[in-house]
């Protein structure tokens, strides 16, 4: 089972690839839109890439609840354990 830090680090690489945000900026307390400037279409790309990377399903309805990097990491952890 991946640790929280492993998930955050892998997610940071996805966000970097798609939106060009430096990996070190993608920390748990950061908001995707307000802090990292990830727009809504890029967020969809991040979600789909995360689904493939972590082998989880992230329903479209859930995406609006993933405000911070920490929200996304927690969701992925729960989905992997569930």
């Amino acid at each position: 089972m991946a640790s929280t830090e492993e998930i955050r680090s892998n997610l940071a690489e996805i966000v970097n690839e798609i939106a060009g945000i430096p990996v070190e900026d993608v920390q748990l307390d950061k908001s995707f839109t307000d802090d990292l400037d990830v727009d809504s279409l890029s967020m969809v790309e991040v979600v789909v890439a995360a689904e493939e990377k972590f082998d989880v399903k992230i329903p479209d309805d859930e995406v609006k609840n993933l405000k911070t990097v920490g929200d996304a990491v927690a969701f992925i952890e729960r989905a992997q354990n569930g």
Partner: protein, 411 residues
């Protein structure tokens, strides 16, 4: 009411001969071919395996994150637009962006995006990019150029197959003459060297099949021509009202004197063999530019290297210019860069402007034996153009019977 005079104050290009205007122009003057045999895996089953890809990959120039949001065609447009914009010096001129328009054409649009997302769809619908639509829409190049420069007058995308690039310049000229803009960033782009277009143009019997000798494949006006060579790239010209350019002390390359559009009304793919539609486009460009055939000393022909098209255009030029065609040097850049589809007219307009500015016609390569049916003064070596006030025509014709001729003159 007198016409607003419009001039060219900036040029940009990325082509099979180079990643900018200077390298492209040097390649044209040197008679260099940008053609090569493709080695990609996807080409192996195709009848036509040759093309003229751009010399510099746009992803080497555009920032990575930006590049992945742009189709290849829009990437090429943005590269050329950045160069033209920088060349014009307009960024620091205090230009009101509500007076800045864009007209950037494409013949096909974001085909890379369309095809790659169709492949993704077959695997899993969730792999389709949320950016697919803004990337594949035909106006994507014009839109991204306008975003890049902050242009807030109209943003336009003429689509008329291989006449598109010239139609964009025609449209840009009108925008300035109608008082809707002071400056228009005009041109065209295409990045469509892919299996589908190569197969589809190949099935039309439109492409040269000289797979074993790619640099000899595009041979406009030669007796042994057997079709065009698919190229890719973009050309952008900064069109500016003369008053605006003069007021800011801009460098001026040439005057955009007139532009003429016509339709063949003949066939979806074949040119009117009498050349009537093409003749009317040239005549309109001349009359709108207050020019006569005697003013024309350089003709950048459409000349794609197809058996019928080259002859129809030669007839049309003879009809439009009459005896004065004797002193007009005809040149066919497609012999070197191939056919850039929606980018063709734009890149060749850049070349036409430089021919006037430098008073030299680039050569046409591969004319080993001129077809007897071609009654033009074809230069196979560089040819010096005369001093004094002279003008030039640039022709582009497209499937659908679209004809677009642009007249430039020295200033």
């Amino acid at each position: 009411m007198s016409k607003t005079r419009v001039v060219i104050t900036g040029l940009g290009a990325t082509t099979p001969l180079g990643g900018d205007v200077t390298s492209t122009w040097e390649g044209l003057l040197a008679g260099r071919s940008g053609a090569r045999r493709l080695t990609d895996e996807w080409v192996q089953n195709l009848a036509v395996q040759i093309a003229a890809p751009v010399a510099v990959e746009p992803t080497e120039v555009i920032e990575r994150v930006k590049a992945r949001r742009l189709d290849r065609t829009a990437q090429l447009a943005v590269v050329a637009a950045r160069e033209a914009w920088a060349d014009s010096g307009l960024e620091d001129s205090g230009l009101d962006k509500e007076r800045l328009g864009v007209a950037v054409a494409s013949g096909i649009g974001g085909l890379h995006t369309t095809l790659s997302n169709y492949d993704a769809l077959q695997q899993n619908p969730r792999r389709v990019s949320p950016l697919a639509i803004p990337m594949l829409m035909p106006n994507s190049s014009a839109a991204y150029v306008s975003l890049e420069l902050g242009a807030k007058a109209g943003v336009h995308t003429p689509v008329s197959a291989c006449a598109s690039g010239n139609e964009a310049i025609w449209l840009g000229l009108d925008q300035i003459r109608l008082g809707r803009a002071d400056v228009v960033v005009a041109g065209g782009a295409e990045g469509a060297i892919m299996a589908l277009p190569l197969a589809a143009f190949g099935m039309m019997q439109a492409l040269s099949k000289r797979n074993d000798d790619p640099e000899k494949a595009s041979r406009p006006w030669d007796v042994d021509r057997d079709g065009f060579l698919l190229g890719e790239g973009a050309g952008i010209l900064i069109l500016e009202s003369y008053e605006h350019a003069k007021a800011r002390g801009a460098k001026i390359y040439a005057e955009l004197a007139g532009a003429g559009i016509s339709a063949d009304g003949h066939d979806i793919a074949q040119p009117d063999p009498t050349g009537s539609g093409a003749r009317r486009a040239m005549e309109r460009a001349l009359s709108e530019g207050d020019l006569t055939p005697a003013d024309i000393f350089h003709i950048n022909a459409h000349a794609t290297s197809t058996p019928q098209g080259d002859i129809a255009e030669s007839l049309a030029i003879r009809q439009a210019l009459g005896k004065e065609a004797d002193h007009a040097v005809a040149t066919a850049p497609k012999s070197m860069i191939g056919h850039l589809l929606g980018g063709a007219g734009a890149v060749e307009s850049v070349a036409t402007v430089l021919a006037l500015k430098n008073r030299v016609s680039p050569p046409t390569i591969n004319v080993d034996k001129l077809d007897d049916a071609i009654e033009l003064d074809v230069a196979t070596e560089q040819r010096k153009l005369p001093d004094g006030d002279i003008a030039a025509l640039n022709n582009s014709f497209g499937f659908g019977g679209h004809n677009a001729a642009i007249a430039f003159k020295t200033l």
